[in-house]
């Protein structure tokens, strides 16, 4: 688990950049050791976070005759089995590391090596004989990989900051990327917040050979209708799932350093913790976040689960001020505007984990996407049901079942709820039907854009770009499957696994692992009928069945409460904005940066300051604005001094 960087000269006259500058920018991802390799037109480097084979697992790693080299960020969880298979085929290993399995698998299977891997990874592999660079990313996007072409060179890195360290001309924000972020919460496809920097999509290979780039998909989420193991009864499916989850957790516990678990108190993380306790005999070490605001705090459930497992459990208590102080540093790590603050407490939790002597944690991320856990999916179902009889008086009453965890729920008043959720009810063929209302709310940030930026963003068509990326056959999937796919390609890939996952934990050199996103689990569940996921309005039916007996009844039957954190309240103290917030949102600063309209921002600030910003739209607009300004300050102006600590610029 590491940060990786590299260069491939397309033009033989191109000067290779300073690889040291690139890799030093990723020290937080790999503080244990760093090494590099130069081989003709290619250079690779790795900053290592040592987790498996601490002594001989250093990178870059080569095959027997050093004709294939690789650097790798992540873990290949099935490396034990893969190694055994490759050794039977005659390959000779010199280390005990999972990275070495990669180079031998490539020797044996060529580009199809990646299909043999069960893991979370970003890989750069240099084939010396063919002078071919292969970049690969895991199926779901746990580990990041970015690349660009600049001045006769291909540059790639785990984080954009490493590219910008040697190609500062790439520090230009992508306005179309902003249009996506201010609609979907994230960029999609290969787009990033930076105009010329691309993301390698999950489930893809990029092959660079003789100046030509070839992008290949090797895996994608699919929701086949009537295929797979839909003949299984709920009981049988539950048993199959439990066995598979146990195996996924067993694989993901493989480590030469201790592994802890994150406990949010919800079903998903409690399930992972229980499975980890089943998989190994040692006392479990668990970590949680608690909040001073009861709307967000889940400490009672966390304690219940920790006691149930006899875990050694500690919590990080997060105040509003902690979030406000940590936010500038968070944006340095996420490298994109955010519409939520929830990644900040997770970043602080990872520091607590590190300070406790742990480098690796298992998390419950991904379960809601795989098992149909979100209220968004229920919302889509209710709207479709209502659309069949739009004049029905009782069908829309089902809306009251949505979002019970929100203090100021959008369904609190049924008359207004029906007006709001009844919009675009008839657009049943819209591929984004389940997401329409959420995206409408998110676009509330458009109200505070500067007239110039608003004019550009209002002509952008982010939905068209996303629709063009939908796979063939999408329209034949069931409604839930379609909604799941869109959620996965936006929120999961672009935000939950990246900003809230990889970036928040790697900021403090902690590796998060996600057993629910083992591709075998995904493929099993995707092949089942949607009623195994959302039965009526009951979510995650199959997962609850699989975890019965492992998790206390109180948690098993608990209603969904997604992990959230306090929003704009975190940036005000005693009725005043934190000093860096005041500086960035001053009229002069806003005019200089040009993204947002000073008058509109002033009205929003007043709402937030006085505690009248109750809804998601205002909170997202505020956080989106602040994070965009921080991104500009840190990456475009190169101002590394912006900080939340002690409220001062220094």
């Amino acid at each position: 688990m590491c940060g990786i960087v590299g260069v491939l000269a397309v033009d033989a006259r191109a000067a290779l950049p300073d690889l040291g500058k690139m890799i030093d920018a990723l020290r937080h991802r790999g503080p244990d050791e760093k090494h590099d390799l130069r081989s003709g037109p290619c250079a690779l480097a790795c900053a290592r976070l040592s987790i498996i084979d601490l002594a001989t697992g250093g990178q870059p790693m080569a095959n027997e005759d050093e004709s294939v080299w690789a650097v790798h960020n992540g873990e290949i969880f099935n490396f034990v089995e893969l190694r055994a298979e490759l050794e039977r085929l005659g390959h000779r290993f010199r280390s005990r590391s999972d990275t070495e399995a990669i180079v031998h698998a490539y020797e044996e299977y060529g580009e199809r090596f990646v299909e043999r891997l069960n893991g979370q990874f970003a890989i750069a592999l240099w084939d010396v004989r063919r002078q071919r660079l292969v970049l690969a990313r895991d199926r779901v996007g746990v580990r990041p990989l970015f690349y660009t072409r600049s001045r006769g060179l291909w540059l790639f890195a785990s984080e954009i900051k490493a590219i910008l360290a040697v190609a500062p001309e790439a520090a230009v924000l992508d306005e179309l990327g902003l249009a996506q972020i201010f609609t979907f919460w994230t960029t999609v496809g290969q787009r990033t917040a930076f105009k010329t920097v691309r993301s390698l999509p999950p489930g893809h290979l990029l092959v660079l050979e003789q100046g030509v780039e070839r992008l290949e998909r090797y895996w994608d989420w699919t929701f086949p209708v009537g295929s797979g193991r839909s003949d299984l009864s709920m009981e049988e499916a539950g048993q199959a799932l439990r066995a598979l989850l146990l195996d996924a957790v067993r694989l993901q516990l493989r480590s030469d350093v201790p592994v802890g678990v994150y406990l949010s108190g919800g079903l998903d993380s409690c399930g992972v913790a229980a499975l980890a306790a089943e998989a190994r005999a040692e006392k479990l070490r668990s970590f949680s976040i608690t909040f001073e605001d009861p709307e967000f705090d889940e400490s009672a459930y966390q304690r219940t689960m920790a006691e149930h497992l006899g875990a050694q459990h500690t919590s990080f208590h997060c105040s509003y001020r902690d979030i406000g102080n940590a936010f500038p540093n968070l944006i340095w790590h996420t490298e994109t505007p955010l519409l939520r603050t929830a990644a900040a407490p997770l970043m602080l939790l990872s520091r607590h984990v590190r300070d406790s002597g742990y480098k690796v944690v298992l998390t419950g991320e991904g379960a809601d996407e795989v098992f149909g856990g979100y209220d968004l999916f229920k919302e889509g179902k209710i709207r479709r049901f209502w659309a069949k009889q739009p004049r029905s008086r009782w069908r829309p009453l089902l809306l009251a079942r949505l979002y019970p965890y929100l203090a100021h729920s959008p369904v609190a008043n049924r008359h207004f709820a029906q007006r709001f959720f009844g919009q675009r009810l008839e657009e049943l063929d819209n591929p984004f039907y389940a997401h329409l209302t959420r995206w409408t709310v998110t676009r509330g940030i458009f109200k505070i854009l500067s007239p110039e930026l608003r004019a550009v963003l209002e002509t952008a068509r982010p939905e068209e770009e996303l629709e063009a990326q939908l796979p063939s056959g999408f329209e034949t999937w069931d409604e839930l499957g379609r909604a799941q796919y869109v959620e996965i390609k936006t929120l999961l890939q672009g935000y939950l696994l990246s900003s809230q996952g990889d970036r928040a934990s790697m900021a403090n050199s902690v590796e998060g692992r996600v057993p629910y996103l083992d591709h075998r689990v995904i493929e099993l569940v995707n092949g089942l009928s949607p009623r195994y996921k959302l039965r009526g309005l009951r979510e995650k039916v199959l997962l609850r069945r699989a975890l019965a007996g492992l998790v206390p009844e109180r948690i098993l039957t608990r209603a969904k409460q997604p992990y959230r954190a306090p929003e704009c309240r975190s940036f005000f103290e005693s009725g005043k904005p934190l000093p860096y917030v005041e500086e960035l949102t001053s009229a002069s600063s806003l005019r200089r940066t040009g993204y947002f309209d000073p008058a509109a921002v002033g009205h929003l600030l007043e709402k937030c300051r006085s505690g009248r910003a109750l809804g998601a739209a205002d909170n997202m607009a505020f956080v989106g604005m602040l994070s965009t300004l921080l991104l500009h300050e840190r990456f475009l102006r190169g101002n590394a001094a912006v900080t939340g600590k002690s409220g001062a610029w220094h």
């Binding site: 100021h408 729920s409 959008p410 369904v411 609190a412 008043n413 008359h415 207004f416 709820a417 007006r419 709001f420 919009q423 409408t440 709310v441 109200k447 505070i448 008058a599 509109a600 921002v601 009205h603 929003l604 007043e606 709402k607 009248r612 109750l614 809804g615 998601a616 739209a617």
Partner: protein, 81 residues
């Protein structure tokens, strides 16, 4: 300040984050324009109760009373009698 003027200003400032009078007509539906959702309606009711000393009953918390500047003005005037 006249009630209508004051309410218009509140709606523009709080929901549209602007003082530009031209962006909203008095009879325009706030829900159809996407200006007012449930949470926004709650903010509005809290403001009306605090600013004008009225009490909005559960069955009065309805778009029929709150869905346009005109309707809100009429509602507040009725309640203040």
């Amino acid at each position: 300040m006249a009630l209508r003027t004051e309410l218009r200003e509140f709606i523009l400032r709080s929901y549209l984050l602007t003082r530009d009078e031209s962006v909203l007509g008095d009879s325009e539906s706030l829900t159809e324009r996407g200006i007012l959702d449930s949470t926004g309606a709650l903010e509005l009711v809290l403001h009306l109760e605090e600013r004008y000393g009225i009490k909005v009953q559960d069955d009065e918390f309805h778009p029929d009373n709150l869905d346009s500047v005109e309707k809100i003005v009429a509602f507040v005037e009725r309640k203040r009698i």
